[in-house]
């Protein structure tokens, strides 16, 4: 079954290890700017919001690409870029409403998350639980469970309180 990356930004402390392993795996060097996942910080110097390609079902980048280089891989539920077709116009990066496509200025090509062919490296190193790779039909399951546990003490149906 199709799996997706589930991001829980509340758990992210901003250690940015995901950026490192992502660039390490894809580019052979540790460089946050070449990472497909980025921990975005606003004014605050703490925490973070991990942002990566959400593999949209009806993607703007696909519609925008003049070379038809971006296509959907149904088995893994991801969008992949065919670099043989890509003309490097960066339109996809401009069209992506989340800014999740970036440009590698050395190799001169756009880069985006490819879910590591079904074994995302970033999820393996996130020990804070901010990133998960799980079944698309259960994307909310962890949060549901956590919320249930959180309110169980005060819930009038909870077994502890009669």
């Amino acid at each position: 079954m199709t799996k997706v990356l589930v991001i829980d930004s509340e758990k992210c402390v901003g250690c940015r290890t995901c950026e490192l392993v992502c660039s390490g795996k894809h580019e052979g060097e540790f460089n946050p700017r070449l990472s497909r996942i980025k921990v975005v910080r606003g004014e605050n110097e703490w925490g973070g919001f991990p942002m990566t390609c959400l593999q949209c079902e009806s993607a703007w980048c696909v519609a925008a690409c003049p070379a038809k280089a971006i296509s959907r891989d149904e088995t893994l539920g991801r969008l992949i870029i065919d670099y043989d077709k890509c003309i490097g116009c960066r339109l996809c990066a401009m069209y992506c409403p989340f800014g999740n496509i970036s440009f590698d200025s050395v190799k001169k090509r756009v880069i985006k998350c490819d879910l590591c062919n079904g074994d995302p490296e970033c999820v393996k190193v996130c020990f804070y639980g901010a990133l998960e790779y799980r079944d698309i039909r259960e994307i909310g399951a962890t949060k549901q469970k956590e919320y249930m546990e959180k309110i169980a003490g005060t819930n009038r149906w909870s077994p502890q309180k009669k």
Binding site: R16, L20, E29, F30, N31, E45, V125
Partner: protein
Amino acid sequence: MVNRSIEELTCPECGFVARNAKGLRKHLQLEHDMYQEKLHLPPEKPDCLITKLEENVMSGWSGKILRVDLSKKVSTTEPTAPYIPFVGGRGINVKIMFDEVGPEVAPFDPENRIIFGPGVLTGTPAPTGSRMKITTMCANGLIGSGGVGEALGAEIRFAGYDNIIVQGKLDKPGYIYINDDVVEFRDASHIWGKETGETRKAIKDEIGDQGVQVASIGQAGENMVSFACIKTGVFTTAGRGGMGAIMGSKNLKAVAVRGGQGIKVNNMEEFLKISLDIRTKVTDFPDFKAPIEYLERRVREMNVRATKEGVPAWGNWEDFDWDSVDPDNFVRGVHEYYRENQIARIGCFSCPVSRYRVCDDPEAGIGMALCNSLPMFAWRVWNRDFPVIETACHFCASYGLDTISTANIISFLMELYHRGIITAKDTDGIPMKRGDKEAILTAVHKIGKQEGFGKLFRDGILAGAKKIGRGAEEYAMQVKGMEIGLREIRGRKGTALATAVSPRLSEGEYPLFEQNWNVHKPHAEAVDPAVYEKKGRIILDSVRKYIVLDMIGMCRNIFLRAFEAAGGGVILPVKLLALATGEDYNLDNMFAAADKVHLLERAFDVMHGVRKKDDTLPKRLFESAVPGGPLKGARLDKKKFDEMLVEYYEMAGWDEDGVPKEETFKKLGLEAEWKSFNKRLKKKGAAND
């Protein structure tokens, strides 16, 4: 307009020749997307020097060291390769300090250097690969290295440098902004006088990039208070030794860094696999696995260690009514404080286990109390309220003050007040009552802003005590002019020795080894804190392990304090280092490298006048016994203490006066260093005669 050579103005990407530096930067931005951030153009007369982008061929190291001369406002790069015998981080820092800062240099001279030294694995996914050492000649004239976490070290690596040397002095307040190969000298008159946090924010806003990492000083550093710190983030601080004052003496308000280059390692696949393995091991370790949040556990641990093990000293090594304490609840209001004021969680770069809590203190604003700061502002100043600890620590961080030294001075004033040596009149009308919130916070403000009685302590506790007079010097707890920390060292002989000889400023360096004594199996009998024998060996062993981790750039708190006994220690980091660099690093040659660093640190201090007579503790610690608690009655014997010292000297290869021997240099392959050391030592001796 500065004339530049064609090479400097040629685009490294396509060979385009620009008319001036500004043109080249614009070209790089437009054509090659080099600087995606909002570009700050240098002033008409460019102060920056654009160095040539070089092809990075080393794995592990970035291959370049940046040297920034503040007096001439130029920057140059030099290769890392000659320094490789010292591995990286603290090792390279110390080597550069030894080579370039001779005995004729005083701490506040422009010739003194501040060296930022991320480790070889800083900026990689090696667990806790975020550590950096800032090394300088401290305010007391001796070498010191302060460790910091968060993301500054990694950002320096991403800017393409192994180390950054800052030397010289700016003619007016300014800060430097290092963006990959471009170094800008910027004006800081508008942020001079601001607090550390405000400075960080102002600089980030000015550059227009929140990803910039900033090391800044506060008012204390600007006023050159001898225990001012360098703040490198929300919670990490190069605290001890007055490094902030050294930055202040250079008119350098901050160092801002942004990078976009990568770090290459030798065997990427294996490196990722092994680092993930170690990461899993660290997170599976019970201490870190527990669902309790880090600081809460830490406070609980602190209570137990204070009351059942007698770790901290009470007040200024004074007596305390032990029966009055509830061991589980000495510090009050932890939960309530967090419930009301915690705003976020924060962690160091690349660390799998840091779960710190950022609090928005109602009085002092955003910050976080950590490490030694907590017990310093509890037991040492007789304070039982957690909110006061946080408030005091947040204020210290804003002013850029070292919490250990500040709390030590407050503790000192409280003892003087208690003994009747000073009255409220001496402290601007505030009675320095034990544990009094007003007394603690007023003292922090006065010292931070250098107002009123705070001015007494600008040059440290010893100078302050001399100014007070009336026999106050006897109560000043310091070693080599540096205020000592919190431990009850009369009952712990190893800690006593470490405090006396540590090249990094009295405390804070070595005493963490206590938890790991069980791994020193060959010297099992020396594990007992009350024993003097073989302590020299154990401590030297700890010293070497610390230096190894400092060179690699991984966290001693995780790997040595918590993890050593479980088989972590330095073995795993060294393995990762070997993988990353492709060099044959093992425990033997890493310890040999650590010995070199330790030797050069000592040689530096000896050149600046340290001998055996300075490796001692305040007199009253030898004359009194522990008045109560678990270690009641323990004494520190001067004669046996000296024996411990001599043992340590012997193990480290120094003579009986604590001067490194020629054969030690030769054994470690440091002939050139020996010649230079000997020459400068003789020259200094001749100058003194």
